[in-house]
């Protein structure tokens, strides 16, 4: 141990702790989603009664495109912020929130149709239980993401988010990408494999 002190530890050679933390959180959340996916796949075709996926599910193509596009917009929003282009950042960031909100609206609309037109609730049968749990867990994470995106938007509108905050905004964008990736899996499991 020498007497020479350095300005701060790592001096850029160690990873950014925000990224590490978010990556760890993503691992944990992936494990949770994996268990729900396993339960979903395990119970495919095992419901004793009630509507089946083939009978009632409609593939939400449009809203999926919305959500996946929001990954693109959030990515470019981050890039804009890094380059100091405030205006482009605000527009793309708001677009992300809008697209995410559209996705949630789509989920809500689908649930409304399933419940009121087809009588499928979480307690109807195994399909109902696993479907609402899995899609609902994902929608909950979308909602939490939108809240956080909204908070950042508020700070940005107040002029507090500049190129210096890029790293932190990037951490949140990573979360948003995760939410989209989970949707790819959920979509495949529920609307393609499970039918």
């Amino acid at each position: 141990m020498s007497a020479i002190t350095t300005p701060f530890p790592g001096a850029g050679s160690l990873p950014y702790r925000g990224k590490v933390a978010m990556a760890s959180l993503i691992f944990a959340e992936s494990a949770i989603f994996t268990i729900f996916v396993v339960a979903y796949l395990f119970y495919v075709g095992k419901s004793l009664t009630g509507p089946t996926p083939q009978e009632v599910l409609e593939t939400p193509i449009f809203f999926t495109i919305c959500l996946l596009s929001s990954s693109l917009t959030v990515h470019f929003a981050g890039k804009s912020l890094e380059r100091g282009k405030q205006g482009a950042f605000l527009i793309l960031w708001s677009l992300t929130i809008l697209l995410g909100g559209l996705f949630l609206y789509g989920t809500g609309r689908e649930w409304h149709r399933l419940i009121y037109e087809h009588g499928l609730t979480i307690s109807t049968n195994l399909f109902g239980t696993t479907y609402y749990s899995l899609v609902g867990l994902h929608a909950f994470h979308v909602t939490a993401g939108l809240v956080m995106l909204g908070i950042v938007l508020m700070f940005a509108l107040a002029g507090r988010v500049g190129a210096d905050q890029f790293r932190r905004v990037d951490v949140l964008a990573l979360y948003w990408h995760f939410v989209d990736a989970v949707w790819v899996v959920v979509f495949t499991v529920v609307y393609i494999l499970g039918r």
Partner: protein, 557 residues
């Protein structure tokens, strides 16, 4: 400089009103204080869990005893298991990790101090919720009260039909909350270890305690989440009419078992790996040699981490899986014994050729080696599926896992207490009280848990509030109970030592054990900011390099 800091600090403390001190502790984000809070919290619940165990043992002292009713007994073993795992073992290990990891890597605090505090208080809330169940669970048939579903909460016993009232909900929700706290701390540990190391501290120069806590944190991330998911599913079943584990609607009771044990098995490695960490720091210092085979120790632990994710159904050998599944889990279970055995050999290799000092921390480590060896071997027996068909669900299993958790983990924890108490408080724990604690606890432990294997071999199942006379279990159970009382006395000696030494113990100084890692370079207790200037290291044992400039480790690594 350190004694001045202590003098300044003592003056500050003496002149502050106690409310301010309390407020300081309640709102702290300092990793050292949070570490101490975790540890004190765990010690409190250790006593509570121990009382629950004592009630169990008094009831089982004689056949057909009526010390407590079956309902109370079933709550006791449920609460004992749940408390000890979630509100003693996890908090105390997180507490030590919190305190030591930043110091050992030359950092000033954890990566996210506020998340650290939040995680602690979540865990604390979980414990409070679980125990509130004694007062708050209301429902039909007086079926409220503490949970009585066993700490694994098998379905469908946990369904509304078989567990009316709210007792099972207290189990579910308190652990859900505590689980979020654990995940928070694990994320913090990973970010701290990867991003906050001092200059020169490459991954290959981190103390083994830091490496092992990194692996443990990674396992928490992967293992606690399945329990969280399963508990959400159970809550959906109980409250929203879901059918995840509802066998009447085609649901599967075994699905809960899989999900629970996918958590449950890695969880016990989460508990034992920090114990390995303590032993890996203490044995070298008291053998006066570096750890034998540092890279192998890291590699073996990484192996254990991965393989332990694939063994979970050895808790389910009797549920009727087909012979191929049973064979798969048998071999993975036996395989995980290989890296574990390698670690035991490496510890022996560290002691070999050393100059062993038999201070209290080392006594506990030697007992750990002896007992962990036995625990591992009974684990191999349990991993052999057909043998398991006789042994599972019996007192043999109870003896095995207590051998691991008490004989292994708790002994390693005691070693850690005696080793690091001087650093935390600035005082040495009494060696004579320490030796008394050690011998009493050793004798009590062996009375209880050696003998406990035998009723299992003689057919005594677990989780029974009473048993028939004439099966050969009577005297054995009596001896087991006596050992429990001896252990209780030993714990009292330990707690007394902790308290008395705080005021009367010898002053410790920076480095009472002549050790080699960074925490021994600062004062005891460390200043709030840990390091005056961030250290720069050139080897795994920076203090050895300082003390032996003619023969530094950096020449060999």
């Amino acid at each position: 400089m350190s004694s001045d800091a202590m003098a300044i600090r003592n003056v500050e403390i003496e002149s502050r009103p106690w409310v301010e001190t309390l407020h300081g502790w309640l709102t702290t984000v300092d990793h050292k204080r949070l570490g101490i809070l975790y540890i004190l919290y765990a010690l409190f619940f250790l006593v509570v869990g121990g009382l629950e165990a004592t009630i169990i043992r008094i009831q089982l002292m004689r056949p057909h005893n009526d010390f407590v009713s079956p309902q109370v007994f079933n709550r006791m073993f449920t609460m004992h298991g749940t408390t000890m795992i979630f509100f003693v073992a996890i908090p105390v290990l997180f507490g030590f990790a919190n305190y030591l990891v930043p110091l050992m890597i030359g950092a000033r605090d954890m990566a996210f101090p506020r998340l650290n505090a939040f995680s602690f208080w979540l865990t604390a809330l979980g414990g409070f919720l679980l125990y509130f169940s004694f007062l708050g669970g209301s429902g039909l048939y007086g079926a409220g009260n503490a949970p009585d579903i066993g700490w694994w909460a098998y379905a469908p016993l946990t369904s509304r039909a078989f567990s009316p009232g709210h007792s099972s909900d207290y189990w579910t929700i308190s652990l859900l909350v505590a689980g979020f706290g654990s995940i928070g701390t694990a994320i913090n540990l990973i970010a701290t270890i990867l991003s906050m190391r001092c200059p020169g501290m490459k991954l290959s120069r981190m103390p083994l305690l830091v490496w092992l806590n990194l692996i443990m944190a990674g396992m928490v991330i992967l293992a606690i989440s399945p329990l969280t998911a399963a508990q959400i599913m159970l809550a959906i079943d109980r409250y929203l009419g879901g059918h995840f584990f509802d066998t009447q609607s085609g649901g599967s009771a075994t699905l809960w078992m899989h999900f629970f044990w996918i958590f449950g098995h890695p969880e016990v490695y989460v508990l034992v790996i920090p114990a390995f960490a303590f032993v890996s720091e203490i044995i070298p210092v008291f053998s006066r040699k570096p750890i034998f085979g540092y890279p192998v120790m890291v590699g073996a632990t990484v192996c254990i981490g991965f393989v332990s994710l694939s063994v979970w159904a050895h808790h389910m050998f009797t549920i009727g899986m087909n012979s191929y599944a049973n064979s798969f889990f048998a071999i993975t279970t036996m395989a995980v014994g290989v890296p574990t055995g390698i670690k035991i050999f490496n510890w022996l290799g560290t002691m070999w050729g050393g100059r062993i000092q038999f201070k209290t921390p080392m006594l506990f480590c030697i007992a750990f080696l002896f007992q962990f060896l036995i625990a591992g071997l009974t684990g191999v027996m349990l991993g052999s599926a057909p043998f398991n068909w006789q042994l599972s669900g019996s007192y043999f299993v109870v003896a095995h896992f207590h051998y691991v958790i008490v004989g292994g983990i708790l002994f390693a924890l005691f070693a850690a207490f005696y080793y690091w108490y001087p650093k935390v408080t600035g005082r040495m724990l009494s060696e004579s009280l320490g030796k008394l604690h050690f011998w009493l606890f050793l004798i009590g432990f062996h009375f209880t848990f050696d003998v406990m294997h035998v009723p299992g071999l003689l057919g005594m199942p677990r989780r029974i509030y009473t048993y028939e006379p004439g099966r050969g279990w009577d005297t054995l159970n009596f001896i087991v109970t006596i050992g429990a009382f001896i252990q209780g006395i030993a714990i009292l000696v330990f707690v007394w030592n902790l308290i008395v030494s705080y005021w009367k113990g010898d002053k410790a100084g920076n480095d009472p054990w002549d050790a080699w890692t960074l925490e021994w370079s600062v004062s005891s207790p460390p200043p709030e900011y840990n390091f005056g200037s961030i250290p720069v290291v050139a080897s795994r044992r920076p203090l050895w390099d300082l003390k032996h400039p003619e023969d530094p480790d950096s020449s060999y690594e």
